[in-house]
Amino acid sequence: MKKIEALIRPQKLNEVKEALNKLGISGMTVTEVVGCGQQKGQKEIYRGFEYEINLLPKVKIEIVTIDNMVEEIIRIISDVARTGEIGDGKIFVYDVLDSVRIRTGERGIAAITSPKEGER
């Protein structure tokens, strides 16, 4: 099992979510975050005074998935979230030791894959 953590532009969230849904990925956690990387930040002006905003708003998507889906998910997120400009974001992949579906007590891969029709 792997956890994919993607930091993307907020305006790309819906497109990425739809593309992942088409692939059959429906489980994800989305958080509004702020952060900085190579992107220089932006200027805001209040009463004639300029403020450099270093931390920019991004969206963080977290997906836990089976190993052989990882490359496909990375490809889809990269393709959809890319604008080509600085500030498109980053994707990180982590190993996941275990997972538990709280409702049923299922462990491991069973806990992160959808139960078959009829078993719900």
């Binding site: 958080t31 509004e32 975050v33 702020v34 805001e44 002006i45 209040y46 009463r47 004639g48 005074f49 300029e50 403020y51 450099e52 905003i53």
Partner: protein, 438 residues
């Protein structure tokens, strides 16, 4: 039975009105107009609370709003007990009123400018409230709430009341005369300069140099500015103290100056930063409202075009350039907007005032009377001196008994949670926002 009840009800509704109309000498139109104007001026203080509240960080919005609301509470009581009599009681040496109206006694039986005494006193009360509330703009995000309550009680008594007496209540500036139609000197210079003094005595906010102290909710600020603008029609037009042409002139001048200053701010900001900001348009409008306040009933609408435009540019320079240069932390620019705008307005009155507009006023420089400008400068000087000395003494005095500033950890946690035990945006904090206190 039903008919009897209806008659009784109608009687109750109309009797007070009939009896007022029956009082000799009182024009019900004037009384109604000034009472409604008083209500409009009241609304300015909650408007100011939103105007200020949107400009602080989210961890301090409730405390900022509370500083205005507690001004309503404290000053209303002060005014009934001693404020009105100190301001409008019989003159004592040109400086202050005597105690003839202590606790509003005898006010029932007096007539002020063809208005029943209570009508005039409640209209004036609303000015005293917003004046104290304006000062909070300089000290928010760090001043102790207890010290603030004590401060406004003492400040209204020792600075506002004497100044109101000197300018409006028959004191030395009234006799000079230094013209102040609706409070450029009494309200705006006094509060703005006192704010600056208080900001200097309290010192900068701890995070001033390390974090961007940006507005957390501009729509709130815009809403507040709108309410201020709306209420200002009562502030200035109501100061005619009658439903007449002079009131309408003050109304037109008020709006004209506000739009001109908003335009001036937008233009200046575009030239300076290549952006027309919404906070800038709102701030410019407030600057124009301040600038025309002392002149509203003494100048032509064409003059208020100029007064507003110059006011907008001057306040922009004060707020956007000079404040950074001098490095003081006037949090929300009470001095920049009200102090600078008020000083310009008082001077402008000495330039543009015309007896052709208002025979009760005076001619200004443009109409051949250079002396009026000197009178206005005397008023400005006296107001600044009183505000500086009064504010410094009051704060030093309070500082002996309790700390003026909150503790460092309170300041960084925010005053809403620590001082009031409340949180304005609980749902946002728990929705996974990563920077709940920013």
């Amino acid at each position: 039975m039903k008919k009897k009840f209806l008659t009784l009800l109608l009687g109750l509704i109309f009797l007070p009105g009939l009896s007022l109309a029956g009082e000799p000498g009182y024009n019900p139109g004037d009384v109604t107009f000034v009472l409604l104007s008083a209500a409009l001026v009241f609304l300015m203080t909650p408007g100011l609370a939103l105007f200020y509240g949107g400009m602080v960080r989210r961890k301090n919005v409730l405390n900022t709003v509370a500083m205005s609301f507690i001004a309503i509470v404290v000053v209303s009581l002060q005014w009934i007990l001693i404020g009105y009599t100190l301001s409008f009681g019989n003159d004592v040496k040109g400086i202050i009123g005597d105690f003839s109206y202590l606790g509003l006694k005898n006010v029932m039986n007096i007539t002020v400018s063809n208005l029943p005494g209570y009508v005039f006193s409640v209209f004036q009360l609303m000015f005293a409230i917003i004046t104290a509330a304006i000062i909070s703009g300089s000290v928010v995000e760090r001043m102790s709430f207890a010290a603030w309550i004590l401060f406004i009680a003492l400040w209204t008594t020792l600075v506002y009341d004497p100044l109101a007496h000197m300018v409006w209540g028959g004191g030395i500036l009234f006799k000079l005369p230094a013209l102040d139609f609706a409070g450029g000197t009494v309200v705006h210079i006094s509060s703005g300069v006192s704010g600056l003094v208080a900001a200097l005595i309290l010192g900068k906010r701890k995070e001033k140099e390390t974090a961007p102290l940006m507005p957390h909710n501009l729509p709130l600020t815009i809403l507040g500015a709108g309410l201020l603008w709306f209420g200002w029609f009562g502030f200035n037009a109501g100061s005619a103290l009658a439903a007449n042409n002079l009131a309408a002139l003050a109304f037109i001048n008020t709006n004209t100056s506000a739009v001109m200053a908003a335009l001036a701010w937008a233009l200046t900001e575009w030239l300076h930063r290549r952006k027309v900001t919404v906070l800038g348009i709102a701030t410019g409008a407030v600057a124009g409202l301040v600038a025309v306040t002392p002149a509203a009933g003494y100048v032509t609408p064409a003059s208020s075009v100029v007064i507003g435009f110059i006011g907008g540019v001057l306040v922009y320079i004060a707020v956007g350039i000079l404040k950074t240069k001098f490095g003081y932390d006037d949090s929300l620019d009470a001095f920049g907007c009200h102090g600078v705008g008020g000083i310009w307005g008082a001077i402008a009155t000495g330039i543009f005032a015309s007896k052709a507009v208002n025979p009760a006023g005076a001619d200004g420089v443009l109409y051949g009377n250079f002396g009026q400008l000197l009178n206005q400068l005397a008023g400005v000087g006296l107001a600044i001196a009183l505000a500086v000395v009064g504010t410094a003494i009051i704060l030093k005095l309070i500082g002996i008994f309790l700390p003026l500033r909150v503790k460092e950890e309170v300041e960084s946690m925010g005053l809403d949670l620590t001082v009031h035990g409340e949180d304005a945006y609980k749902d946002l904090v728990f929705s996974g926002k990563s920077v709940p206190f920013l």
